[in-house]
């Protein structure tokens, strides 16, 4: 594997680390199985790309993308809380609706950002090549966001959120307004995912209406893979595990892409990826012995 491929895997792994943080927040903290992310990831990309080609400041466009993601999360939570639609189904409804909304936002299936001024433009044409600087910048940004998320989950509202997920009846008995906790948690979760979509579009040169396919699967694989790797017992370690899990997943895909000399072909990619993820999940357990 070349350095560029490795750094590329790290860069994409960091972006999807934000997705993993969002998925951790909904699935693990709130216990809310949320498939909205397959729609909010391309939503973030669509909003950011459309604003950027209309000459809006790229930082502002990226912030607007996160805000749009928050609205998508609110929509799912509202469908669930106020219309009493099962959480999984509510998120599926928002996800399907977002496909059309994303097409409306972009006005066509694909908005190109190649050569446009993006938040990453400042990293182009420096002494150090962009393929080194971009993952470095993403690492700083993602770990800063993780730190903020850790702080938030330790705050009063954050604790209310965790209590709501752990035991909603008990939380209500303690005077926690669980509806508010779910609304804010889902908004934050999908804001993170949409932010990831906005950054991904800017680093890959386009927003495409199909780019949400399988985002939830990758996010879940990162969360669960990270948990298997670190076995976290605190929030700080759990969020760290999310990012490491996402990096691991991308490294595995990079390995799978190089597996063709084994007689494996392009169509086997997803199978190899799945097999390697299974191995990565089992390895830490083998280390600590079969007793566990």
């Amino acid at each position: 594997m070349s350095g560029i491929a490795l750094l590329g895997a790290i860069e994409i792994g960091l972006v999807f680390g934000l997705v993993a943080l969002g998925v951790y927040l909904s699935f693990r903290v709130l216990q809310f199985p949320d498939l909205t992310v397959d729609g909010s990831f391309p939503l973030g990309a669509a909003v950011a790309a459309t604003l950027i080609v209309h000459r809006v400041d790229p930082w502002l466009a990226t912030a607007a993308a996160a805000l749009a993601g928050a609205l998508a999360g609110l929509a799912t939570a509202w469908l669930n809380l106020h219309l009493r639609i099962l959480n999984l189904l509510a998120s599926i409804l928002t996800m399907i609706a977002l496909y059309s909304i994303n097409l409306r936002i972009m006005g066509r299936p694909n908005v190109a950002l190649l050569g446009e001024e993006t938040v990453l433009s400042a990293l182009q044409d420096r002494a150090i090549p962009a393929y080194v600087l971009t993952p470095l910048a993403f690492a700083v940004a993602v770990f800063a966001i993780k730190w903020l998320l850790d702080r938030f989950l330790a705050s009063e509202l954050g604790l209310a959120l965790r209590a709501t997920g752990a035991n909603p009846r008990m939380a209500r008995a303690q005077g926690i307004r669980t509806e508010q906790a779910i609304l804010s948690g889902m908004a934050l979760s999908n804001a993170l995912v949409a932010l990831a979509g906005a950054l991904f579009a800017q680093s890959q040169g386009s927003a495409d209406v199909t780019m949400g396919v399988g985002v939830i699967v990758v996010g879940l694989a990162a969360v669960i893979g990270g948990e298997a790797l670190l076995n976290p017992r605190t929030v700080i370690w759990a969020t760290t595990a999310c990012i490491l899990g996402s990096l691991l997943y991308r490294l595995i895909v990079a390995l799978a892409l190089n597996a063709d000399f084994l007689g494996l072909q392009a169509q086997d990619l997803n199978l190899i990826t799945a097999a390697l993820v299974a191995v990565a999940l089992v390895l830490p357990r083998l280390r600590s012995g079969p007793a566990r």
Binding site: M1, G8, G115, F200, S206, M211, R250, Q267, L283
Partner: protein, 322 residues
């Protein structure tokens, strides 16, 4: 953790081994494709067949690395990085998202795209005739000018050309836009009829009866799905119906001019060959599909009052059976 890390490192070394330099390095072509799809797979076969015809045989003097993102854009991005890191002689990108991912990853390595409808809109090139950068390729835009020529040949007296489309389909809107640009030059006035749902197609077609001497159906999913309604009106009112979609000829339109994705691939393969022989992508103009196939339906033509001259009949690759 250390045990895991050392195993991980061992796997990395194992995977790096096959990439050790060989004595006589073959030329390398890397292909990236967003998803498995019959048209895209046909295009890829065309590219490889053309390379073989030009004397580049996989396994002998050509090393082909083909990767498919299986529909996942993040994987497409990783494939782009992998290719850029391996520095092949040419990177071939099939479809717009795959091409954009590669173009975002390198401004140096030669990129040839295939099956991209709008290379300017996708910002892959700035100029179709002289791309200038590291990117060129083949556009699979509908050959509207050639289709208009065909309608002119078969319906010489037609002045007003009706077009039925769904204004909600982005692709149709852009196709009708270019149709309206090109039609006056070929002596046609375009009459539009909108069909937002497939249930509206029949009334849209009836609306054109008496207002148009020929009807053109663009590549519009809504209208093509309810094509029989248009054909019914065409037969009743003796207005010939032409289609952009070649498969529609078998369903009863008079004629269509289109292309096979295999031929698109062959044409892209020629551009790849030129780069392998030393030309720069920036000097190779972006091409439209050259090899167009004529499909005719003589029975439909007779029913809609069109006589097909023998020279045109002989050009057809496919005559739909009555």
């Amino acid at each position: 953790m250390p045990a895991f890390a050392s195993r991980f490192a061992a796997v990395l070394l194992l995977l790096a081994a096959p990439f050790a330099p060989a004595a006589e390095p073959p030329r390398t072509v890397a292909l990236t494709q967003i998803v498995e799809h019959p048209s895209l797979d046909a295009a890829r076969r065309g590219i490889l067949d053309e390379l073989a015809a030009a004397g580049f045989t996989p396994g002998q003097n050509l090393k082909v690395d083909y990767q498919n993102a299986q529909g996942n854009p993040a994987t497409a991005a990783q494939i782009a990085r992998k290719f850029v890191g391996e520095r092949p002689d040419v990177i071939v990108a099939i479809t717009t998202p795959s091409a954009q991912a590669v173009a975002a990853a390198t401004r140096e390595l030669p990129i040839v795209f295939c099956s991209v409808s709008d290379p300017l809109g996708a910002k892959l090139v700035r100029d179709l005739d002289r791309p200038g950068g590291n990117v060129t390729g083949t556009s699979d835009l509908s050959p509207i000018a050639e289709q208009l020529d065909l309608i002119r040949e078969l319906s010489p007296a037609a002045k007003r050309l009706g077009v039925i489309y769904n204004p909600g389909e982005a692709n149709s809107v852009s196709l009708v836009g270019s149709l309206k640009e090109l039609a006056p030059g070929k002596g046609f006035q375009v009459i539009e009829a909108a069909a937002p749902k497939s249930g509206d197609v029949l009334s849209a077609a009836r609306q054109l009866a008496g207002k148009a001497e020929a009807i053109y159906i663009p590549l519009d999913n809504t209208v093509v799905s309810a094509l029989e309604a248009v054909i019914k009106v065409g037969r009743e009112a003796k207005i010939p119906v032409y289609s952009a979609d070649t498969d529609s000829v078998g369903r009863g339109t008079v004629a269509s001019l289109g292309f096979d994705y295999y031929d698109v691939g062959r044409q892209t393969g020629q551009q790849v060959t030129r780069i392998l022989r030393g030309e720069k992508p920036g000097d190779i103009s972006v091409e439209r599909v050259k090899k167009l196939n004529l499909h005719l339906n003589p029975q439909a033509a007779a029913a809609m009052g069109v006589s097909i001259p023998d020279p045109i009949r002989q050009r057809a690759v496919n005559l739909a059976k009555p």
